[in-house]
C-alpha cells in the first residue's frame, strides 16, 4: 500500500479537528463552557456529537475485524452498543439530565448525600476511562503503522497531542463541534468506499462470502458460545449507561425532554453506521482471508479498498478509511479525556487550582497516564479491552444509576457495597484477562466475559445491603425524586442544585 495518501489523510483529519475546535474556542469563556458547553446544545448537533464520540476504534475497525475472524456471533457487539442506548434512553436519560449534576460522582453525591459514594464513583470513572483510553491510543499506533509505516508509539502520541490541544483550549464547547463533525466524517469514510467495493464485488462475479461455520451463530471455537453471547449482550446493553464519556454528554442537553429526543436521534445515527462494518467483514472473507491468519483482522477496513480496487482510486479509498479511523480515535479519546478530566479536576485538583485552570491541568493527567500505559504495555486488542470497560461499567455504574433513579430505598452503605463488589469482581476478571493466558473451559469463559455474573451480583449486593440498612436512606430522597422525574415546566421545589466543583 502506498503511504503518501494515507499520511496526508490522517494529517488532514488532525488539522480539521484542530480548526473545527478553534471555531469553538472563541465561545469558551466560563467554567460551565468547559464542562458542559453551558448546557445549550440542541438535539441534532448533540446527537451527532454523541454518535461521533461513541463510535470508537472498536466500532470503526474492531467490528469488521471481529466479523471477519469469528463470524455471526460478533454481530452482537454493534447490536449491543446500539441497544445500550435504548436501555439508557428508557431508564436513565431524562432523570440523569434533570439531576443537574456535571459528572457521575456529582450524581452519586446528590442522590445518596454521601462523600464516600462520591469518592468511590470518582475512582471508578477514572479507572473505566483509562481502561477505555488505553486501547484507543494503542489502536491509533497500530493503524498509523499499517497505513504509514510509523513506529507503534507515533499514532498514540499524535492522537494524545491533538486531543489535549482541543480540550485544553476549548473544553466541552469546542469538543461538541469537533465530534459532530467526526460522526459524519466516519460515516462518509465507510459509506463511500463500501459502495465502490460492492460495485467491484458484483463486477467480479459476486462470490458469496457465506458458508461453513463462519455464518452460523453459536458455532465459534469458544467452549460456551451461548454463555459468551449472553455475557456480551448483558455487558453492552447495560454498560453503555455507565461509560463516563457517554454520561457526561447528557449534561449538555438543555432539559430532560431534549435529553430523550437527543438519545432517539443517536439511536438512528448508530443504526445507520453499524449497517456498514459487517459488510467489510464479509467482503474480507472473499478478498483478504490472509489477514485472519496473520492476526491482523483489525486492519481489514484499512486494507480492503486497496486490495479490491486497483490504482490511485483504491489508494484514495484506503486513505479515506484511514481518515475515518483517526476520526474515531480522536473523538472517543476527546470524550473520555473530558470525562476523566472533569472528575479529576473536581475531586483531586480542585483544592490546588481553581476553575478552568484546574480542568486544564487535569486534562494533561487524563491523557498522559493512559498514553504512557499504552506505549509501555503490550497491545491488548482494541475490541477486547473496550469490551472489558463495558463489563466494568455495567457491574458498577449501571446498578448505581438504575437503583438510584427508580428505587427510593437505596442507601449509601448499599451503594458502596454494590460498587465495591461489582468493581472488584469485574476488575479482577479484567486484570486476569489482561495479564493471564486464556484458560479453557468454564473458568476461562467466566473470566473472559464476566458481565453475566458480576452484574447480577452487584445488583443483588446493592439491594440486599440497602434493605439491611433502612435507617440510612438519604434524608432528602423525596426532594431528589421530584428533581429527577418531574418535567422542568412544572414549577416545583427541587431543592438546591448539586454543587459543582
Amino acid at each position: 500500500m502506498s503511504h503518501g495518501y494515507a499520511i496526508v489523510a490522517v494529517l488532514l483529519v488532525a488539522a480539521a479537528t484542530l480548526s473545527v475546535g478553534a471555531y469553538g474556542w472563541r465561545f469558551s469563556r466560563t467554567t460551565s463552557d468547559f464542562f458542559v458547553a453551558s448546557r445549550s446544545v440542541r438535539p441534532a448537533l448533540n446527537a451527532s456529537a454523541i454518535g461521533g464520540e461513541y463510535l470508537s476504534a472498536a466500532s470503526f475497525l474492531g467490528v469488521a475485524g471481529l466479523v471477519l475472524a469469528f463470524g455471526t456471533d460478533m454481530l452482537w457487539y454493534p447490536v449491543g452498543w446500539t441497544a445500550g442506548y435504548l436501555v439508557l434512553l428508557v431508564l436513565v436519560a431524562a432523570p440523569l439530565r434533570r439531576s443537574g449534576a456535571y459528572t457521575l460522582p456529582d450524581f452519586a453525591e446528590a442522590r445518596l448525600e454521601s462523600r464516600t459514594v462520591r469518592g468511590l464513583s470518582s475512582l471508578l470513572v477514572v479507572a473505566v476511562g483509562w481502561l477505555y483510553l488505553m486501547p484507543q491510543f494503542q489502536g491509533a499506533g497500530l493503524s498509523l503503522r499499517t497505513v504509514a509505516g510509523t513506529p507503534a508509539w507515533a499514532g498514540g502520541l499524535l492522537v494524545g497531542a491533538v486531543v489535549l490541544v482541543n480540550v485544553f483550549f476549548g473544553g466541552m464547547r469546542s469538543i461538541t463541534f469537533v465530534q459532530a463533525f467526526q460522526y459524519w466524517l466516519k460515516l462518509t469514510a465507510l459509506l463511500v468506499p463500501v459502495m465502490v467495493l460492492l460495485a467491484a464485488w458484483s463486477g467480479d462475479g459476486a462470490r458469496s462470502p457465506l458458508g461453513g461455520a463462519w455464518v452460523s451463530p453459536l458455532a465459534s471455537a469458544d467452549a460456551h458460545p451461548l454463555y459468551t453471547t449472553y455475557s456480551i449482550v448483558i455487558a453492552t446493553f447495560l454498560g453503555t449507561m455507565g461509560l463516563p464519556h457517554v454520561v457526561v454528554r447528557f449534561y449538555t442537553n438543555p432539559d430532560g425532554r431534549t435529553a430523550r429526543r437527543t438519545t432517539l436521534v443517536v439511536l438512528a445515527l448508530l443504526g445507520l453506521f453499524y449497517l456498514l462494518p459487517p459488510v467489510y467483514g464479509a467482503l474480507g472473507r472473499v478478498y483478504t482471508p490472509d489477514l485472519v491468519a496473520a492476526g491482523a483482522s483489525d486492519t481489514v477496513v484499512l486494507e480492503l479498498p486497496a486490495r479490491m480496487v486497483e490504482g490511485v482510486a483504491g489508494e484514495l479509498l484506503s486513505a479515506l478509511t484511514a481518515a475515518g479511523a483517526f476520526a474515531a480515535f480522536l473523538s472517543t479519546s476527546s470524550g473520555l479525556t473530558i470525562a476523566v478530566a472533569g472528575v479529576l479536576s473536581q475531586d483531586v485538583m480542585g483544592r490546588r487550582f481553581r476553575g478552568v485552570r484546574s480542568f486544564q491541568a487535569s486534562a494533561v493527567v487524563a491523557v498522559v497516564v493512559p498514553l504512557v500505559l499504552a506505549v509501555s504495555a503490550e497491545g491488548v486488542g482494541v475490541a477486547r479491552a473496550v469490551g472489558l470497560a463495558f463489563a466494568v461499567a455495567a457491574s458498577t455504574f449501571c446498578p448505581l444509576l438504575v437503583l438510584g433513579i427508580w428505587w427510593r430505598r437505596l442507601t449509601d452503605v448499599g451503594a458502596v457495597a454494590g460498587l465495591v463488589v461489582g468493581g472488584l469482581l469485574s476488575g479482577g476478571a479484567v486484570v486476569l484477562t489482561l495479564i493471564g493466558d486464556p484458560r479453557a473451559g468454564w473458568g476461562g469463559a467466566l473470566v473472559a466475559q464476566p458481565a453475566a455474573w458480576t452484574v447480577p451480583l452487584a445488583f443483588a449486593t446493592m439491594i440486599g445491603v440497602s434493605l439491611l440498612t433502612p435507617a440510612r436512606v438519604p434524608r432528602h430522597v423525596n426532594r431528589t425524586m421530584v428533581r429527577l422525574h418531574t418535567p422542568e415546566a412544572v414549577d416545583l421545589d427541587r431543592g438546591p442544585a448539586p454543587a459543582a466543583g
Binding site: 431508564l91 451463530p217 453459536l218 446493553f237 443504526g271 449497517l275 421530584v482 418535567p487 415546566a489 421545589d493
Partner: protein
C-alpha cells in the same frame, strides 16, 4: 413605587365559609401524603413504561441467541439473499430499536404532560 402599598379590602359575597385551596404543586413541595401520591403516580407510570420497553427488548432481541441455539437450522433459511440470522442481527434489529425508542419517547412525554396537567389544574 414608594409609600404604603394599596391594600384592597374585599369580602366574599357568599355567606358560606370558603375552603382554602391548596395546589398539588404546594402539596408536593410540602411533601405531604397527598404530594407523595402525586409523585408516586408519576414514578409508577414512567417505571411501568420503561420496564415494558425493556421487556420487549429482552424478549425480541436478547431472545435471539436462545432461538439460534434451539433452532440451528435457521441459518439455512435465506431471505433477500441473506441467511436469516444475518438479516436479523446485521440489518433488521436497527430499525426495530429505533421504533421502540420512538414509541417510548412519545409515551414518556405523554406521561409527563398528564402529570403537569394534573398538578397545575388542581
Amino acid at each position: 413605587m414608594s409609600g404604603t402599598p394599596r391594600v384592597r379590602v374585599t369580602s366574599p359575597r357568599s355567606a358560606a365559609p370558603r375552603r382554602r385551596r391548596v395546589s398539588a404543586v404546594s402539596e408536593i413541595d410540602a411533601q405531604t401524603d397527598l404530594g407523595a401520591v402525586y409523585m408516586s403516580s408519576l414514578l409508577r407510570s414512567q417505571l411501568r413504561l420503561a420496564l415494558s420497553v425493556v421487556s420487549v427488548l429482552v424478549a425480541l432481541v436478547a431472545g435471539l441467541p436462545l432461538l439460534f441455539a434451539l433452532a440451528p437450522g435457521l441459518v439455512d433459511v435465506e431471505l433477500l439473499g441473506l441467511p436469516l440470522p444475518w438479516l436479523l442481527l446485521a440489518v433488521a434489529v436497527y430499525p426495530f430499536l429505533l421504533l421502540l425508542g420512538w414509541l417510548y419517547v412519545r409515551a414518556a412525554e405523554r406521561n409527563e404532560r398528564d402529570f403537569a396537567e394534573m398538578v397545575e389544574r388542581s
